[in-house]
Point group: C2
Chain length 184, copies 2
DNA sequence: CCGTCATGGAACACGTATGTTCCACTACGA
DNA sequence: TCGTAGTGGAACATACGTGTTCCATGACGG
């Protein structure tokens, strides 16, 4: 498969990036808005993605790739379950507006199904090695992870004075506390 | 000001209730859908709320009232700051789909501004009495409260087997752990 | 210099949500 | 029995998003 002319790839990527940013803020935003944000004509957008559903599918695929990439960077096999989860949290935090987009997708549709199994395994490991409270069901831990991640992202968006490092520190502290077993 | 005939009040309330339920699931849902859910004609809906914005304003007002009512029931002046916050959490949890609606409203627009001050005072009290980690900024505590509340609501919606009591127990446990100061 | 490639704009048809008007039906009290 | 309040349905005009077609422009390599 030939690499369809570097120009087309860049245009396509610009559209997808713009779509992620705008859809995160308003899942019902118009294609015209997305095209404008990507600095291309609406005609061009339709040339790459015939229907809205096609664009959404491409955004979904891009999101899935970024999630997998983040999970790889987090090196989930290393350390205790809780440590791995917190590392993953830091990687996910850098996904930016993609977080809002997935949260708007109501908890899980396509992307999560990919590595959700992997995450649940990490959580189980944490419950076994004593770094995560076994009284917490794995999917509740997952819900907790996503909700605090989203809260941290929104917190950072509202208070520009808060540095990335500071917010990440708050997130790490509260999440690890929430998951810690009572005996520890 | 006369009480405009009990019938009109009941119709109006039915429309607002239906609007809260549907808008929580889809903020862009049509007025026709809301009218159908309220079991009234679209004409009637327009008779009570001339424009969509009018209905949204009424929903906003209703949400604000319910929040205030919940805060009153929580008796925020009693006990430590953390205890009061957890009581409030339980009251808020029963607001149901209103939680999703306010979360869709992106963290805070009108309703929160009402009692946000009161909540921040409770959080400050908790920081002072040692029941809340003083290292956590009050508005981060607030963000944490809302995000875990939303997570709990979604968790309950997805897993019908989880009883209200069980979910509320998980929420209380993780939230109080997240807020607990390290020394304790 | 010419051809193609990628693009952007204009215009159109179509569907849907919205807001309005008009008329008919039902319940209820005087 | 009559008049009124509350309602619902049908129809209409309007606005907006969508998907398509057609044509013009600028860039780039032969």
């Amino acid at each position: 498969m030939a690499v369809t002319s570097g120009v087309k790839n860049r245009t396509r990527q610009a559209i997808i990036d713009a779509a992620i940013d705008l859809l995160a803020g308003n899942p019902a935003c118009s294609l015209g808005d997305i095209a404008a944000a990507a600095q291309v004509g609406r005609t061009t957008l339709h040339r790459y993605f015939a229907e809205r559903a096609d664009l959404l599918a491409a955004v979904s695929a891009e999101g899935g790739e970024r999630l997998v990439r983040a999970a790889t960077l987090a090196d989930l096999e290393r350390g205790t379950g809780a440590e791995a989860l917190l590392r993953l949290c830091r990687e996910y935090f850098d996904l930016g507006s993609l977080l809002s987009l997935m949260f708007a997708g109501q908890g899980g549709e396509c992307w999560e199904s990919q590595d959700e199994g992997g995450l649940l395994r990490v959580i189980e490991r944490g419950r076994a090695d004593g770094s995560i409270d076994p009284a917490l069901p794995p999917d509740w831990v997952l819900a907790l992870l996503w909700s605090q991640l989203y809260a941290a992202w929104e917190y950072r968006a509202q208070r520009q004075d808060a540095s990335r490092h500071h917010v990440l520190d708050l997130l790490t502290r509260t999440l690890s506390n929430a998951l810690r077993p009572p005996s520890s």
